[in-house]
Amino acid sequence: MKVLYFAWLRERIGKAEEDIAFPPGTETAGEAMAHLASLGEEYAYAFENPAIIRIALDRKHVPHETPLRDAREMAFFPPMTGG
């Protein structure tokens, strides 16, 4: 799946996007995040406080427990500060 990172998540991980093949049994957006957090030190740092991370599936805000189903793009970012 195409995975995007924004703001300090992007900076901590060191890339803006990548393709990730999530392991079988990865059902929800939150489980996908937990998998990413296991990919290395920079990921662990980015996701050290999972409760504050916002997730979008196919460009829509979703709760962490949302099933991935056939989503094609997932994005992780801190709370928004636009406006």
Binding site: L4, F6, A7, W8, R10, A56, R59, K60, H61, A75, F77, P78, P79, M80, T81, G82, G83
Partner: protein, 151 residues
Amino acid sequence: MPDPLIRVQAEPFDAAAESRRITAGRTDIGAVVTFTGLCRSEEGSLAALELEHYPGMAEDELARVAREALARWPLQGVTIIHRHGRIVPGEEIVLVVTASAHRRAAFESADFLMDYLKTRAPFWKKEHPASGAEGGWVAAKADDDAAAGRW
């Protein structure tokens, strides 16, 4: 129901032109409210803001909040323009324009749009200090969430 005009762009915008675009040639609009958000220097401590956004989703979310305003208030026009990229103090960041037959709908919907886009639109501000030190990401404010919770 009118189509909202949504733009996400690096370039500055012209608030007056956007207001005229809504009212031109019409005689059924009684009230136009414009909100312009500007970059502050924080007493000289800020050199610039860097506004990162999620292309595609940013436009979608602004359109979503605009459509929500159109569903809640009798509006004859809604425009939202949000800039991204480097913005220096004194420059404009965001524009909301609402037009209605009556002033209450125009005021409330503009206020609503600003509260909502602050908490829903995928934009992130990084501050570049005038000192030249490494910039930091602006933390989301709890009172922005509280403001959005009013609606």
